[in-house]
Every structure is written in structure tokens, then in C-alpha cells.
């Protein structure tokens, strides 16, 4: 870790003491430093939720939009200015619930952005309803009989959709998470890092201890480029939960099809009056 992290911003955070979000914020800050980025070169996009407050607590560009809609906004911004490094940080409810359709189709597009999901398996900001990733049986005020809808496994879906980079981490492992974010950013295409994050206020099932007891780091013998093995690995949940890079591939990214490396970003392009004249002439 560097001594002074210039991504660090002072000021209050509206998070509960003990929340895993603090660690994820640190991991993001570290990763950006390690990547050698400058604040103005980075854009962090989020939706709404506890996790989604992150762009307000860090010194980079930010877009804090609508609940569930971080991915399309990130798409627009990245396409507009592909020189920006674009990170999306948002919650499990935001990305997999309200934003589920964008999650699927964003992966299909394979635009070069990195998505960090603060997966606390619950809706934190709205006070503890089940989220798509809540475990079976979890009792909440809106699931009084316990969750009986099968949990959404984001890793497995991302692998199926051929995301370029699919990883899981645990918020407490700050350094490890940083490294995964760095690797995600360095992998061209869509990167997902699902970070297990304790919610001390509402998730009394998957506590920090619960995660700590279960997570283990994938060793160097694990090969993330075998899709069917990755698929299997990503299904592990329960007594043992793997963290690390679960899947990696290197397919063409969205902009590979549209922009050459030296092309001007859209923000620098101009429309020629002559060009428009030619369109008008086609109408004769």
C-alpha cells in the first residue's frame, strides 16, 4: 500500500460502523493507486443503495444515478469517452434485482468496464428485505416464511454469458480484493467481481464470521480458463466458498468492433457541415 492514497476523500460516510462497505472502499482506493491512475482518469458509476453511495466517498469522477441502472449509464459514459477507466460499484439488489436485465445484456456486449458488486445478500438501505442472492430460508419482514426463491448465482450466469473476467472476493480481504479489481480492470472486456460483504444491521445469517469460516482462496493450480470447470467451481456455496478469479476469457470487446485504438473518443469528435450537406443531397 502506498503511504498517501490520493483517491481517499475525507468526510462522513453514511454507513453503519462495522459494515463491509468500508473495506470495499479501501480496496477500490488501493486498486486505483496500484493501477497508477489519476482521479480525473477514472469514472465510478453506481445505482442506489448503501453500496451505491461509494462514488461519493472517493476522489474520482462519479455518476450516481438510478437504482438498478448503473450498467447502462456506465455503458453510455464509456462509449462517449473510451479513455476513461470505468468502474461500476453497486449492490446485489441494484445489479441483480432491479438491474437484472442490464446485467445480462451488458455482459453480452462485453464493453471494457469493471463491475464490483457489494454482495451483502440483502437490501441494506431499505432495511433488510431479501435480495436475489439471499440464502434460502432467510427470514425478513417481507419474507416472513423465509426465502424460498432459489438464490441467484451471479458468477454462474456471468460465466454462461461469457463474461471476460469473473471473480469473487470477500470484503474483509482488502488486499485480495484490490488485486482482483486490478486484474479485472486490466482484463479487456466486461469484468465482474462479486464481493461478499457483511451487513451488520440486517444480514444476521451471512455474518462476517460466517463468511470468514467458509471462504478460501483459489490456489495457483486452479485454471480459470476452462469454462466447464469454472462453471462447476462457481456453484460451490455452503461449507466452502471459493474466492479468486473463477473464469477468464479473451473475446473481442464491444469497442474492438467500433473504435480503433488511436481513434478520437466521441467527446472529441465533430460533425462536418459538408457531411450533413451530403445527406440532404441524397434526398433529391
Amino acid at each position: 500500500m502506498t503511504t498517501r492514497n490520493y483517491f481517499h476523500s475525507s468526510g462522513e460516510r453514511a454507513w453503519c460502523p462495522g459494515c463491509g462497505d468500508y473495506s470495499i472502499l479501501s480496496s477500490v482506493e488501493n486498486a486505483l493507486m496500484n493501477l497508477g491512475k489519476k482521479p480525473h482518469e477514472v469514472l465510478i458509476v453506481s445505482g442506489i443503495g448503501q453500496a451505491a453511495k461509494l462514488p461519493h466517498y472517493i476522489n474520482t469522477n462519479g455518476f450516481d444515478g438510478l437504482h438498478g441502472r448503473a450498467l447502462p449509464a456506465a455503458f453510455g459514459a464509456k462509449v462517449a469517452n473510451h479513455k476513461l477507466m470505468v468502474l461500476v460499484t453497486s449492490g446485489d439488489g441494484d445489479i441483480y434485482g432491479e438491474g437484472g436485465n442490464h446485467f445480462i445484456h451488458a455482459i453480452r456486449r462485453n464493453l471494457d468496464i469493471t463491475l464490483v458488486v457489494h454482495n451483502n445478500q440483502v437490501y441494506g438501505l431499505t432495511k433488510g428485505q431479501a435480495s436475489p442472492t439471499s440464502d434460502l430460508g432467510m427470514v425478513t419482514k417481507t419474507q416472513p416464511d423465509g426465502v424460498f426463491t432459489i438464490p441467484f448465482n451471479p458468477l454462474q450466469i456471468a460465466i454462461t454469458l461469457d463474461a471476460a473476467f469473473v471473480a469473487r472476493s470477500f470484503s474483509k480481504e482488502i488486499e485480495f480484493t484490490s488485486k482482483l479489481i486490478e486484474e479485472g480492470v486490466n482484463t479487456p472486456g466486461f469484468s465482474l467481481i462479486d464481493v461478499l460483504q457483511p451487513c451488520v444491521s440486517f444480514n444476521h445469517v451471512n455474518t462476517c464470521q460466517w463468511y470468514s469460516d467458509r471462504v478460501y482462496q483459489l490456489g495457483s493450480s486452479y485454471n480459470p480458463s476452462d469454462k466447464s470447470k469454472s462453471y462447476k467451481k462457481s456453484s460451490e456455496w455452503g461449507d466452502k466458498i471459493p474466492i479468486g478469479v473463477i473464469y477468464k476469457n479473451s473475446r473481442r470487446t464491444y469497442l474492438d468492433n467500433l473504435i480503433k485504438p488511436n481513434d478520437l473518443p466521441l467527446i472529441k469528435r465533430k460533425t462536418s457541415i459538408k457531411g450533413v450537406e451530403s445527406l440532404i443531397n441524397e434526398l433529391y
Binding site: A14, H40, N61, G62, L66, L71
Partner: protein, 570 residues
């Protein structure tokens, strides 16, 4: 004698009506005829009953007429449906073998063995080309021009196909000119001049390009798709990126992301898709992100009439998005105006950092008019972003200025980082829970209205000065109302029209000037609730007479308006 000739080309979807209409239109326009073309089609790809109307004149025209003097009928249904509407006298071109036409004094029946000529030209798919050949012969248009056009438009198809089409067209032409040598339905002479023909979809699309669009996203929806398709087709050439989104919510939020990042961007959609953008538009309001929303109306609610026209979304665009924020709404009257409006919309969205609506409809999008030219100097592209190198630091994305408009930069400009946000926020974009911050922020946003009101655009007065009776209209009804005024003036009625293109911010003072003292005002609009009438009453508190409404999915026409008008006269 003034020329006013009305042609209907009818058949079922998939019979190639479009080809007939396109070649006819192109050749007429290139010969200097003024045209107004409109489309009536069903929500299906094959079968059913569709038709195109081509009205021909020697001076600019703005609307369609219901009684064609010439009907090209590609199937029996087309004869059955249009027979009773035909002018007297009228001509029907049709296949002599498969289609029957009831005898009548007023009808001249042009029966041509179209299918046979098609088969002889190489297959059964050239019926439409045979028909257009016949049509050219009757109208005494040049076969060479027809052939040239067919060659060009089939350039990408197989040689086989091109040949077949040309052969059939020539056969239709020859057969008809021989058989109907004496029939003279020459439509009249005009000074030869190259006119362009443009429809609303093309006009908006080219306008958005001229307005500097860099990113467009949409989800297909009739009748807006044509705008999106046009821009997509030109994207590579103009350095634009176009993305078909997974849904309208994504389309809108993609455009907001692009807008926040500093490029001009727009979405195209229609009613149902607009509904899905409700929350995104509210975000544009909160985060003050420039966005242009081209909403092309069709009758609702819900799926309604997918391929028809209406002006039913006015109330929605006036109020869409939860919470409160300023917006612009423009409703172009004609394709020509739609071009200028679209450039203007792009400029204003950036200038005021607000959502700007271009509110069109199927009638605008699918109707073509002839023009001399479009002039890019009339409404120029102008940037309202802070110039690179000029960013004052600390940069406050939501600086509370006198005008309400904060300086606009792009992410990373002059090495500055900033946040765009959807909450109540401080000037630097960070979440606040403070009541004073909330109050000031709302007031700042609404202060923009002062400037926005001055972006003057209509209303437009047409007709007799100090007329006793005033028609008020907005958007695409312009042409029909304008020609109704012409007709009524000819009949010595004291009438005029006040037409609105800019709907919001409502031009209150101009409206008061034009309307406040009038006793006899009738609003004309394509909806049931008389939405504009209601708005007018709210904004300038006047009494209006019973509005002239149409809500059956069809556009107004002169006859319809005059009938309603005369009914009331009694």
C-alpha cells in the same frame, strides 16, 4: 389551372407498394412537382390492407386529401375499400385478370394484365413494377427515368431481379401507352426543377446529426424506428455510435451516461417506450444531464394502434418524471420544421442541461413533403460546454448561478474529477439531507425557466388578420389546418389559425397577444381529451369553443375539419 392531383397506391403488405410509391415520388419531385405523401399501414408484415397517398401540385402543399383521382389497386380489397372515396372522375389501374371493378359513370377502369406481364418478365414478383410502368404511361412520365431509378435502387440485388423489374416496368409502360393512347390524364405542367422529398423521420434524423449527435440508443418501436435506423445507417460515416438497447430503460440510461460524460445524445421512442423512460427522464431533471427524447406518438393506451397516428402523449411529456424539474417540448409541424427543431433541440438540451422533447407522431414521421432545400445556416450547431483549458477550479458541477445554469464540463476535463448525482445534493454533487440545500437546489433548477422562455419559437399566425374565428393547432396537424384555412378563406370566411410548435415552456405572452381577445377559438387536435385545449385554458385563462378532435388513429384532413366547422356554423 392549378394542379391538384391525388393518387392512392393500395394493396396488401408485401406486394411492393413502397417501390411503386418511391419511384413515382422521386420522379415527380425531380421534375419539379410539389408533393405531399402519406402512409396508411397495418401492424403486420404481409397481407392486410395498406396504402400510400401521393398528392401532386404545382405549389407547396401540406396535407393529404381523401378522394383520389387515381387508384393503383394491387388487390381486390383495395378496390373495395377505396371505391366509395374516389373522386369524380377517377381512374383505377388494376390487374385485368384477378381484380374486378364495378362499372360506374365516374370511374375509368384501366385493366392491365399485370400478373401476366410480370410472369413474362421472369416471375410473379414483378407485378408492382408492371403497375408502376402502367402508371408512368398514363401520367405521361418518362420511361427512361423509371428505368434509371429501378437500376439504381436494385443495385444491391441480383442482376436477375433488376432485369426482371425493368422488364416488367417496360412491359407495363408499353402495354398501357398503346392501349390507352388517347386517354389524357396528364397531371399538368410545372417548371422543371429538382425538388427534394423528405419525410419526418429523415428530417429528425438529419437534424439530430446536424445538431451534433454522437451517441444514440433506442429500442425498436413503431413509428419511431425510422429515425433510429436512419442515424444507425450513417453512424460510421459520422463518427456516431448507435446501440440497440435491451429495453427502453437501458436506452434512456445509456444516453444519460453519455450525456453526463459530455457528448450529445438522444433516444427515439413511442408511447410505451416513453413510459418506460419516465424514471430516466426524472434523472435527467435531477442530475441536469442534457438529453433529447424524440417521442413519435401513436394511439394508446398500452399497445393501442401501433401503426397509426395520434397526439395523445402531450399530457405525459408535460408531466413525465416524478418530482419537479424544467423541460422543453417542441412539436414540429412539418418535416421541414422538424429538421430545424432537431438541431435546436440538441443545442438547447446542452445549453440548459434539461431534457428536450421532440414530440412528433406517425403522421409526421411517415409523411413526405417536397422542398427546395434545407438550410444548415438557419439553425447552427453551437457548443455550450466550458472550453477546454477554461475550467475554473474548484469546479462545481451544480454551481448555483443567477441563470440557474451551471458550467458544463466533461469528466476529466482539465484534469478535474466531479460527480453527477441523482439526490438532493450540494453544489459539488454530493448527497445532502439539508433542507436549505434542497430548497436552493430546486430554485436554481427552476431559474433556468427564465432563459428557456426566451428561446422563442412560435406560435405562428396564418390567415386573415383580425379574423373572427381562430383555429388553434399544434404539431403535425399544421398542414390540414392550414389548407382548411385556405379553403375557408376562398369561401370568404373570416378565419385564421394560431399554430404551436413550441409547447413548453408555454409561450404565455405571445399567446395572450394572439388569443386573449378572441371570442371564437377552436382547438384542433388528434386526441380525445383535448389536451392542448386544457393546457391553453390553464396557461392563459381563455374561453374556447368545442374543440375539433379526432381519435380514431387517422390524421386530420381538410374535409374533416371543414365538415366539423360547418356543422358548428349551423
Amino acid at each position: 389551372m392549378p394542379i391538384d392531383f391525388n393518387i392512392t397506391i393500395a394493396g396488401s403488405a408485401g406486394q411492393g407498394l413502397q417501390t411503386i410509391a418511391t419511384v413515382l415520388i422521386k420522379v415527380l419531385a425531380r421534375n419539379g412537382y410539389h408533393l405531399f405523401t402519406s402512409q396508411d399501414y397495418m401492424s403486420r408484415i404481409r397481407g392486410g390492407h395498406n396504402f400510400t397517398n401521393v398528392r401532386v401540385s404545382d405549389k407547396p402543399i401540406y396535407s393529404t386529401r381523401v378522394s383520389p383521382q387515381l387508384l393503383v389497386a394491387l388487390d381486390q380489397q383495395s378496390v373495395d375499400v377505396h371505391y366509395k372515396h374516389l373522386a369524380d372522375p377517377a381512374i383505377i389501374i388494376h390487374d385485368s385478370d384477378t381484380i374486378k371493378v364495378r362499372k360506374s359513370k365516374k370511374i375509368q377502369d384501366i385493366a392491365i394484365p399485370l400478373a401476366k406481364l410480370s410472369r413474362e418478365s421472369g416471375g410473379s414478383v414483378y407485378v408492382n413494377s408492371a403497375a408502376v410502368g402502367a402508371l408512368f404511361a398514363l401520367l405521361r412520365l418518362d420511361l427512361k427515368e423509371l428505368v434509371k431509378f429501378l437500376e439504381a435502387s436494385f443495385a444491391k440485388k441480383s442482376f436477375e431481379q433488376t432485369k426482371g423489374n425493368i422488364k416488367a416496368a417496360t412491359a407495363g409502360y408499353t402495354y398501357t401507352s398503346e392501349k390507352y393512347q388517347t386517354l389524357n390524364i396528364h397531371i399538368g405542367k410545372v417548371r422543371k426543377k429538382n425538388l427534394m422529398l423528405i419525410n419526418g423521420a429523415e428530417a429528425i434524423a438529419i437534424g439530430l446529426i446536424a445538431g451534433g449527435i454522437r451517441f444514440i440508443s433506442a429500442y425498436p418501436m413503431t413509428p419511431s424506428t425510422g429515425i433510429f435506423t436512419y442515424i444507425t445507417g450513417k453512424a460510421r460515416k459520422f463518427g456516431i455510435i448507435s446501440e440497440q438497447a435491451e429495453d427502453e430503460i437501458a436506452a434512456c440510461n445509456m444516453v444519460l451516461g453519455a450525456g453526463a460524460a459530455g457528448v450529445r445524445a438522444a433516444v427515439t421512442t413511442s408511447g410505451g417506450g416513453l413510459s418506460l423512460m419516465c424514471e430516466g427522464i426524472s434523472l435527467a431533471g435531477a442530475a441536469e444531464i442534457p438529453i433529447v427524447i424524440a417521442n413519435m406518438q401513436r394511439p394508446g393506451p398500452a399497445t393501442g394502434f401501433p401503426t397509426r397516428t395520434a397526439q395523445e402523449d402531450l399530457d405525459l411529456v408535460l408531466n413525465i418524471g416524478h418530482g419537479e424539474f424544467p423541460r422543453f417540448i417542441f412539436a414540429p409541424s412539418t418535416a421541414e420544421e422538424a429538421f430545424y427543431t432537431s438541431i435546436h433541440a440538441m443545442n438547447l438540451a446542452e445549453k440548459y442541461q434539461v431534457p428536450v422533447f421532440i414530440l412528433g407522431d406517425q403522421h409526421l414521421v411517415d409523411s413526405g413533403i417536397t422542398l427546395d432545400k434545407l438550410n444548415q445556416n438557419k439553425v447552427k450547431y453551437k457548443s455550450y460546454m466550458v472550453k477546454s483549458g477554461n475550467l475554473k477550479k474548484p469546479y462545481l458541477r451544480y454551481k448555483d448561478t443567477k441563470s440557474g445554469v451551471s458550467p458544463l464540463a466533461y469528466y476529466g476535463q482539465d484534469k478535474v474529477a466531479f460527480i453527477v448525482d441523482s439526490h438532493i445534493h450540494t453544489e459539488d454533487g454530493h448527497i445532502s439531507e439539508d433542507m436549505v440545500v434542497a430548497k436552493k437546489l430546486t430554485e436554481k433548477r427552476f431559474r433556468k425557466i427564465n432563459g428557456m422562455k426566451k428561446e422563442f419559437y412560435g406560435p405562428q399566425y396564418y390567415g386573415l388578420k383580425n379574423a373572427k374565428r381562430i383555429f388553434v393547432s399544434w404539431g403535425s396537424t399544421y398542414g390540414a389546418v392550414r389548407e382548411a384555412i385556405d379553403t375557408l378563406l376562398e369561401k370568404k370566411n373570416s378565419v385564421a389559425m394560431v399554430h404551436y410548435n413550441k409547447i413548453w415552456p408555454f409561450p404565455v405572452e405571445e399567446s395572450i397577444k394572439l388569443l386573449k381577445s378572441r371570442k371564437d377559438i377552436r382547438v384542433v387536435e388528434n386526441n380525445y381529451q383535448a389536451q392542448f385545449n386544457r393546457l391553453l385554458k390553464r396557461e392563459i385563462k381563455i374561453n374556447t369553443g368545442e374543440p375539433i378532435l379526432r381519435y380514431d388513429g387517422r390524421p386530420f384532413n381538410v374535409q374533416y375539419i371543414i365538415e366539423k366547422f360547418e356543422k358548428r356554423q349551423k
